[in-house]
């Protein structure tokens, strides 16, 4: 469970709204607010095992959705490509600064950076 916190937070960000209300509550408290199973159990007056079962089921639901849609995998690929684009744009800009000194290239660089930033927001 918590040893995969980053992955679990990402799954929750993508697909969390597909969980039941109770699953969402517990998942959120456990992963985002970092409460322990025992603390959640005490707050809701149920057993620690009961809390655990709900969170494990929620994790399984989220993992199943990702396995079937692959949308997080796609997101990671887009992120990697965005980094590549930014690096190429950096190279173009430094080439222009050091040697070409062309205002049209400079203008295109700005527009490229702006589009790359848009990608990063998604």
């Amino acid at each position: 469970m918590k040893n995969q916190a980053y992955r679990m937070t990402m799954l929750y960000d993508f697909y969390g709204d597909l969980l039941t209300k109770r699953q969402k509550e517990f998942y959120d408290l456990y992963y985002n607010d970092d409460l322990s199973l025992a603390e959640i159990a005490e707050n809701y007056d149920i057993t620690r095992q009961g809390v655990r079962d709900i969170i494990v089921r929620a994790e399984k639901t989220l993992e199943d959705i990702e396995e079937k849609t692959g949308l997080i995998k796609r997101y990671h690929r887009t992120r990697a490509t965005t980094a590549t684009l930014r690096s190429l744009c950096d190279q173009l800009q430094s080439l222009n600064d050091s040697r070409l000194r062309d205002s049209e290239v400079s203008d295109l660089c700005s527009k490229l950076y702006s589009a790359i930033d848009d990608l990063g927001r998604d």
Copy 2:
């Protein structure tokens, strides 16, 4: 239903694997193989209304998932940004062809196009 075929096909491509086996079958026959409700009904020996109910429920499931995750909306934004990037790269390339004639710019253009193509594949 079929007046939204493009949208429905897109929803199916993204989230189709989250439907039940029966929903998938009917959805696929109706939207992808373009069978009529009556034809599907005859093949499966159930009523036309029965087929309709299953497809309508499947559509609602897919729409709900998109409403909760917004992943298709995100996909469309990425597509639009990819088109912008391609257009900027075209401008850089024609600037280089017509005026700069710089081999490093040409090389960077190729690499930018290649990264932009990667985005288009997602």
